[in-house]
């Protein structure tokens, strides 16, 4: 299903919208050099996360999936399998799962958790929490599907 159009605020409509990485890149990956650069970061991050073999959910939120011309960075939340052991991977992967180091290395704001951490009912309920904006409204987020 195609990603919906932006609303009057330049956001996706509230809700969790599914798309493949290719669909995300087609929709959000151009328009400015900054956008193209952030898109390359997203592709790199997604490639590393998938390569772990332990990725369950990959959700993009924040300004990258809005009408903003030059998003500063990419904001990602990941759910990893319960047996994911981040220290057992190579340096590049370990950097991704350390928030401060991933900001410096990948230009991304990365959050992650495992299913056992979820406290708001289901994983879907927890993921829905990433829609909330500071003005107390909600904006759509995108889950990258295989």
């Amino acid at each position: 299903m195609a990603l919906p159009a932006f609303n009057a605020e330049g956001d996706l409509p509230a809700g969790l919208h599914a798309a493949t990485l290719d669909e995300v890149v087609v929709r959000f990956g151009s328009g400015s050099r900054q956008r193209e650069e952030v898109t390359r970061r997203l592709e790199r991050i997604h490639r590393i996360a998938v390569a772990t073999g332990k990725l369950e959910r990959f959700v993009i939120f924040g300004s990258y999936i809005t009408a903003k011309r030059d998003p500063n960075d990419i904001d990602v939340f990941m759910v990893m399998k319960e047996d994911f052991a981040w220290k057992e991977y190579d340096r590049e992967t370990q950097l991704l799962y350390d928030h401060l180091r991933s900001q410096a290395e990948f230009g991304a704001s990365v959050f992650w958790a495992k299913p056992s951490i979820m406290f708001l009912g289901t994983v879907d309920d927890f993921i829905a929490g990433w829609q909330h904006k500071r003005d107390q409204t909600r904006r759509g987020i995108v889950e990258v599907t295989p």
Partner: protein, 77 residues
């Protein structure tokens, strides 16, 4: 930067949510995961708390005060 009391309340709600996440990570994460998994939430929590303090340190513009948008102090830590 927080611009008004609506955004203040929204940020306070986000702070409470991130605090709950950290509490859950403290309770459920393995020792090996704890630092890395909690780092993002700790970083974001600090940023929001700093934004709240910065906003509360500014004298408010009372020329267009909306009584219905008073800060919600419930649960403020």
């Amino acid at each position: 930067m927080i611009q008004n009391d609506v955004e203040l309340n929204g940020t306070l709600e986000r702070i409470a949510w991130f605090q709950q996440i950290l509490m859950q990570i403290r309770a459920k994460a393995t020792p090996e995961d704890f630092d890395a998994m909690s780092s993002g939430y700790r970083c974001e929590l600090k940023k929001m708390q700093d934004e709240v303090l910065e906003y509360l340190s500014r004298y408010p513009d009372k020329s267009s005060k909306d009584e219905s948008r008073e800060p919600n102090l419930a649960g403020v830590v």
